[in-house]
Symmetry: D2
Subunit: 342 residues, 4 copies
């Protein structure tokens, strides 16, 4: 049993903890946080299924006032684990790294940290083997994780040498009050970091893209224009066949009721998925179109939960639970029930 | 065991079915619907925990094409139950009533139906005894249900003779694409029906109100200005004391992180509540203010799930499982875990 | 001709400048700002109808790079005027006051400043005479300005001794990217400052209220529950008669197409009003309801422009252009065309 | 003077009327509508600058009740003009065509009508000459109009043979209450009609695209991936040079404050443009990126007003005021002040 700890019990941290708890070959030792947030209060109301440790400088009095039991300090947690999943606020992970190194503990950082913090920038399907045995990995961010699932899928099947993406980004998560946008689309300077990140993970692909923020909370939508390598023309049928085989891509149709990003959220709630989360990205069959020698399609990225499977993959790679992409991702898929819907 | 069926497996119907399934003294016989919606497809993906019956004119071919097993017709469902929960689209319930009468089956209609369809307009806390043994009940709508919890609470404790409400209404549910509002507040003619409905349930109270639709999906907010009867001045402390005793009112503070309607949704998701639902209304302690001889406060109404407890109460009253408000609501609260958080 | 300058050419400052330019007995000497914002760039594209002065520490190089002509420093502007309208960011006005005092220039601050900055907290209709000849006035904020128009209107006609308000607040202005809210309502601790401010201006009225932020940009909506003084019951007809006489209240009906806050914005655009602004508040005739001995109604506050008329009144009072409420407000109304629609 | 009438005084119709009124060589004879909408009431409040005619079946009593003067019937208007601009609701234009034919009057239909209604599908910059002397023209829709400005611009300069577009569409106009979307992105089946329409106007270009609706009201954003013809690689500098020469494309930078679609609306309001409208599309210089042999960029489409210049061009072509693209568009640009900002 690989012993795992989670630093930062926010939107991502909670889901990482839940994801680890579902892995038959891992043990969640505990989580660490700074303040008695609503998420921590919910943990308490649920009866503390996960032990809580406090990071340095934490609001101990606040935890006591709220009657939240504390199991120890952050370093005490680190001492007990084989690997830490660090979903602290951006920048804090880099500081935590010193503690991980001190205790000889491996760590996986989330997309918000700078690439320098890690030895390998990791994606379960695209470069699993590069993460095997490595001490410090950084996961791709939510958009990049979902995007690469599809580009890697086409690339392995037919070869891809160029993509141009448009990211229609949700601007906040449900319940966020610290950021928001009201009746406005906001555009970023191009190229977007997701295109650059894709090239880091898949250096043989030329990628660029534009990102637009939109005032919604349930899922990013990305359109992808991809070109087959060596003049290969990928048809709609070819693309569809490849996508349907992938266990982390859910191919859907508008006519079946998947009208947009919010349909996936509703469907996941109706499925009874915890928090209404979905690990798979959605891919609309009826958006796949051929553009001369290129293929174009649209995907839905459930931003809160999409990186959980690839992070489980990363634990597997770093701790050598499995040594290959096929075995590692298959084990994660099994424990998370990915592909079960087919 | 009271045998229960649910007509209409939409936003409310799904939650009614789940609610019945949680009652130790009830059995959910099945649900009925018309078309293979996303909610029905989710039911199938979950392995059909509830048997499905088709209403007349249903899209049988569509269900077959989607591989969804069907257990029989609507009338076959009605024959098997003691009571139907009718959450069909508004107007359909009135037509279904003829079928219920034919089979001598009781029924409880949701707020969308006209009052004429029922013998008694029902609220578990405010007029339980009027529903005892009655064949056809109609539940108050989501806003009215939550509103009456608080007004009835103050009324029983101190006496209330007048309320003026402002309803800040969410305009759609998460995942709705058939209705919406974009960057606009919309106002209705006054008085709002919720104020009139309150007077039907609590005829000794003078009520009026104004309703404004807002472009959000997670919970209505209502402000209430209430006057104590016979010149009684209700202080903030008095109101708070009464509210805190109520098992379906969750008293919260802004400083604890409950910044608005979306905080409740997030908290319910983090609690692991199915679909991120909450049965309790929220009441912000730090919005309670005294207005000369009146008391003013704000509440949050989780529109998708708030009526479930009172509908369970209605089953109890109609089928005489319990004969009093105290016993009926206590049993519902026990099975739904209401008040557990205290 | 009273010589006027404007500090801060943002959302409010632009409209103050335009408002002054419309007054036959005032001269707009110039405006002052800090950075070459979009509003300043628009001023340049229009050919600099207003002279621009730079506040201390301003980004002079930025103005030069954008080719924007500068007429001098902030102090040079102050030296040329009789009175300054200060719509600087909150807190800056208090610092500017020292400069105004140094040059013996009067000033009117906007609602964002603390009350201490001014000698009198001012509202054109409610306490004009208190501002006559005074050096430093502070205007009520947008919500309070609109709210007091109606409460003062009823108070003068029939007497009012208590109000309870619910403010449904727009969270950002069109084009704002520095603040926003996405799919959430946010609630403030009660009582809201608008209720307290009303009591400062109208000390004989007991006021309280709750404020909820909503993710829209076009106009706040306020519901008001007001009680007649000395047991006077104000009927719908009485309220309507009073409101219809007021030149800064536009009484409308939902049936005429005024469905919500966005209808006013659209109507103002179609009227050809500059920027689609409206100086009047809207009041929906079909929301006026009687609540036992109280009257309830809903109003719309065009947050960007509503304080302009009362600020013009304030100039008149401070500089003694007129000495009474009747004469002062009438002159402002004449130059701004208020009441013209009747 | 070409005599022009406008059928349908809605969002587009109002702007068409205003646009015609600005042309020195045209006369606006009148407008026609069906009901006393807010826009018509605003026309009345402005003193009826345009004569109003009533279409068959119009609500005459409603106009009388509102005191709105009527100048005659729709056919009487048609008799007085050389050409009608038909911005009736979709489908009505096709019926009106019979009346135009009966009176030998030319007509220009808006994008909502089916292509069959017209002899030529028209865009002022892309196919002006095809419209010369033609009786019935149909304008491209708002997105297509703006999109083609840029593709035609690059095509004339360097040659273009393929484009793939992503349309991030605003779902309603400011003030719309009959349509809307709340916290959801909605996707359409691909290819979008705008891509198909582009191929109709520019048959030598292969075009496809995906459209996503977003809950905002101020302007669509489109990302374009375009390939140079015959292997020509269009660099960022080449694209920028071409775009900057175009009088209906406003090249802007994010650093200058144009952060998204709402910035354009705000800027147009600050410019004092009537209704806060803008005839130019926006193009963000800092979104232009090279994608291997293709060029990618993002544009902003002010949906309410963008088709007005091309409709003026269409009048010029149909009535032979000018015979060439250069002369026709130059005259429109002169009267509308397009390019004046450079």
């Amino acid at each position: 049993m690989v012993k795992v700890g989670v630093a930062g019990y926010g939107v991502i941290g909670q889901r990482l903890a839940d994801g680890v708890a579902l892995q038959g070959d891992m043990e969640l030792v505990g989580i660490a946080d700074f303040a008695p947030t609503l998420s921590i209060k919910a943990l308490k109301e649920k009866g503390m299924p996960y032990d809580l440790y406090l990071v340095e400088g934490a609001d101990k009095a606040g935890f006591d006032a709220a009657g939240i039991p504390v199991s120890g300090t952050f370093e005490e947690l680190v001492e007990k684990v084989d690997i830490m999943l660090d979903s602290s606020p951006a920048g804090v992970g880099a500081k935590n790294k010193a503690i991980y190194e001190k205790h000889g503990v491996k760590a996986i950082f989330q997309g918000g940290e700078s690439n320098e913090v890690a030895d390998v920038f990791f994606h379960g399907y695209a470069n699993f083997e590069q993460g095997v045995g490595v001490d410090f990995l950084k996961l791709t961010s939510c958009n990049t994780t979902g995007l690469i699932r599809t580009v890697d899928c086409l690339d392995r099947e037919y070869g891809i040498d160029k993509v141009a993406i448009t990211i229609i980004r949700r601007v906040a998560d449900p319940g966020d009050y610290h950021r928001g946008l009201t009746n406005a689309l906001q555009i970023d300077k191009a190229p977007s970091h997701q295109a650059l990140d894709l090239m880091t993970i898949m250096p043989h692909v030329d990628a660029t893209g534009i990102l637009v923020h939109t005032p919604v909370t349930h899922g990013h939508i990305i359109t992808v224009v991809a070109r087959g390598k060596d003049g290969v023309k990928i048809t709609k049928e070819m693309a569809l066949e490849a996508f349907k085989k992938h266990n982390r891509i859910r191919v859907v149709k508008i006519d079946d009721g998947f009208l947009g990003n919010a349909s996936f959220f509703r469907y996941a709630r109706d499925l009874g998925n915890p928090r209404g989360d979905m690990y798979e990205i959605g891919l609309w069959e009826d958006t796949i179109v051929e553009s001369d020698n290129e293929i174009m399609y649209a995907i839905n990225i459930p931003q809160e939960s999409v990186t959980i499977p690839e992070t489980m993959d990363a634990i597997r790679a770093a701790t050598k639970l499995q040594l290959t992409r096929e075995e590692g991702t298959a084990k994660t898929n099994e424990y998370l029930g990915l592909g079960r819907w087919k």
